[in-house]
Symmetry: C2
DNA sequence: CAACTATATCACTATATAGTTATATTAGCA
DNA sequence: TGCTAATATAACTATATAGTGATATAGTTG
């Protein structure tokens, strides 16, 4: 299970993916897509972000494979590409719970 | 399994964790710690990073709970806090493999 | 084709942070 | 106590990027 040392390029590629999830705005978008596909106008309404900003983040998430899209007329519907984002967020949230539990112990003991 | 909408603060806290993994330098450090605990001097040799830079990254990883440390005399030994980093990287690497397979298909078909 | 709508892109500014050099702190030792 | 070594922190510079307003592009409708 112990991974081999990774090349500089491999580390960069992996880091790029993590960094894509390292922005609250993009997590907000992904969270909104958990309820099912949405077009950009709907995402603007749901999240309250500016159109240009939202579009830019969507292009990034698309390029890195976190979302996919489907064009219907003049609209573009985005959706989560797979369940990986959910799995990743679950692990992170699990960490936060453990962290919180540790904090509680420090005060109640 | 569909997660609830998250608050701005929750999104920020989760994003902070992902962003910590979104830097090749920090992934390099974590990768070096996969082989077991190392002190800072050893990490400098293994990774080739500057001492101050390495120390700063280690403080960040420590604060966010990705590594733990143990002081022995004048040295400080760092180690992975748990296996979450490995699990997270496995998911990301799995994504990259799927991505590569998709690329191959585009050319061979 | 002209007007309209949805989305993407461009150009710009402001902010965050990676890396570096210098300095501070702490432990072990003569 | 003074000296050396290991690590942490401070101050600074350079770079990357989030957000924004303006514009471009493409589908839709009259």
């Amino acid at each position: 299970m112990a991974p081999k040392p990774l090349s500089a390029h491999q580390l960069q590629v992996i880091a790029d993916r993590f960094r894509a999830l390292g922005e609250p705005t993009r997590l907000h978008i992904l969270n909104a897509l958990c309820g099912g596909e949405q077009n950009v106008t709907e995402l603007i309404e749901i999240t309250g972000f500016g159109q240009a900003n939202l579009s830019k983040h969507l292009q990034l998430l698309l390029r890195l494979g976190f979302v996919e899209r489907r064009k219907e007329g003049v609209s573009t519907y985005y959706r989560l590409a797979d369940a990986d984002v959910l799995r990743l967020c679950e692990i992170m949230c699990g960490r936060l719970e453990k962290e919180a539990a540790r904090q509680r112990k420090l005060f109640t003991r």
